[in-house]
Symmetry: C2
Subunit: 324 residues, 2 copies
């Protein structure tokens, strides 16, 4: 061999730098692999290896500028029609419901870090959507941010718990995490009251009641909804609440079309954030998608819990239509 190549020795500081160097030249300077190989005095295959390593280590961030989605015409219509601070609308023209949901979650994951500032206390609900957001967030180093779990534990149809959801959200955001070590609903109101009074649970409820920002999804009142499948409400419970005018579910609580909580038998057996604590926040981020979520989303917005919305163009269109 020509002897022009030099191996990186183990522990050499510049070892990692050459990967960064290659990535910079490729992604920032727009040089092709052959040029980079010549400049770095290595083979093109080695450059391919370096670039691959940079990608694998998560060095490369490729995203669509948030403005693309917040300046979207439908986003602006949503913001204006519903009095929101901002909306983030993703085009999902040809996707299945599942693909659309994943894209909406991904979009929320990209947007959320930029909505957080130093010292924020972020309440995190629990459900399939919020979980997908938590998983999709790329590692971010937020400063002095605390994540609080807004709802207690439930039987989970998804393979992940509320605790894991909040913990992943906190971890990916580089934030502290305060969990809620209690079931979401108990069999007896008295037992629930005593559990709430337990110092550790009481402290956790205090923490979540002081959050200044929150992320949640809107649940529907359909029999196949999450609130039934997770065991929080039985079909009888559901029927009762619907008869009382329930149009949606927010953090495990039923709300009517105006967003007012409907207080029933379930509520004093529940351990979790009270909905009045989610009104008037600096940020209430509603992440939901699907035709069946339109009414619940509009209900949540009407209740004053929502300042920011992430959804698909299709659902945005349906929301705008429903609000005329």
């Amino acid at each position: 061999m020509a002897g022009t190549t030099r191996r990186r020795t183990v522990g050499q500081v510049s070892g990692e730098s050459i990967v960064i160097e290659a990535a910079w030249m490729y992604y920032h300077d727009g040089l092709n692999q052959s040029k980079i190989a010549k400049l770095l005095k290595v083979s093109r295959a080695t450059v391919v290896n370096y670039l691959q390593e940079a990608r694998e280590r998560g060095y490369i961030r490729i995203s669509l500028a948030p403005e693309v989605f917040t300046n979207h015409q439908l986003a602006q219509e949503l913001r204006d029609k519903f009095g929101l601070q901002a909306a983030f609308v993703l085009p999902t023209g040809i996707n299945t419901e599942e693909e659309s949901l994943m894209r909406v979650a991904r979009g929320a994951a990209e947007w959320l870090p930029s909505l957080l500032t130093r010292g924020d206390k972020l309440g995190v609900a629990w459900g399939r959507t919020v979980y997908e957001v938590a998983e999709a967030i790329e590692q971010t180093a937020t400063k002095d941010v605390t994540v609080s779990q807004l709802v207690g534990s439930m039987a989970t149809p998804y393979g992940f718990t509320a605790e894991i959801c909040s913990a992943h959200m906190a971890q990916n955001l580089g934030a502290k995490c305060i969990n809620l070590h209690a079931p979401a609903v108990l069999s007896d109101p008295d037992l629930a009251a005593r559990l709430r009074a337990e110092p550790i649970i009481h402290a956790q409820l205090e923490a979540l009641s002081h959050c200044n920002k929150a992320i949640f999804a809107a649940g529907s009142c359909a029999p196949d909804s999450h609130i039934v499948s997770s065991g929080v409400a039985s079909n009888e419970d559901l029927d009762w609440y619907v008869n009382q005018g329930a149009t949606g579910v927010l953090c495990g609580r039923f709300i009517n079309a105006e967003g007012h909580p409907i207080v029933g038998k379930l509520d004093d057996r529940m351990i979790g954030v009270e909905l009045d604590k989610l009104q008037g926040l600096d940020m209430g981020l509603l992440v939901s998608d699907g035709a069946d979520k339109v009414i619940p989303m509009i209900s949540a917005i009407a209740g004053g819990y929502v300042t920011h919305v992430v959804t698909s163009n299709e659902t945005a269109r349906l929301m705008l239509k429903a609000a005329t």
Copy 2:
């Protein structure tokens, strides 16, 4: 033709969405152009057009994760050695001085938006480095951020003025801008005092004295330095300050090795931020590079103006060596 293709009509909402859709599929879903073409029912050439349009409109954000540079070993050594909140070190192994500076400026441009939060008042110095940072920042929508020009006007060897520098910085950050409509240095101390007392200049000086964050570079005391070429100091002035122990220049003011301002004949003829206003800020971002900047950078840090540093690995190494 098969008649399967559909043109977008002018003004159709989904017109822009198909560009976003194509970009999402390519960059997020990792689909190739042929697959995207098939899914969107257009030709591959049209997909190429859409992707190009997305790039041209600035929809695509490709960057290296900031942690790559802040977790760099040299970055951590700088932070620890100099008591900084964070350092951002860019590998610039094979670059010219010019290329290295451009890369450092680019790195600072990528980092700065994430260092800003709602309500910040950012003081902006002026010089080649800061200008390149301002130009390199991609359009960002910061919230309620105000940019203040820290130094007055000077003869410019670069083709841009301090006003333009601050205005571009503000524009690219989506911030408000408060300029400083005065020369940096006047011929007579009395004239300078009267100008400072002018209501509009006084208000501008008030604004810049209340900034909680600042971005600046460190100037050297070499005869070819910016402070001489811009007409702020003559060679005689320079000699005097160097004899008084000046080791660097910060926002047009001379400082010694401990970072203390050296007060001389120039200072009461100057219009600009007083250095004591730059101590103890929430963020003092020092962006500099080059062997000749090592001593000035260390001086600025010693003076308590700096909380964050952006530099190259080579300069970082020299700084660490100089501080032993």
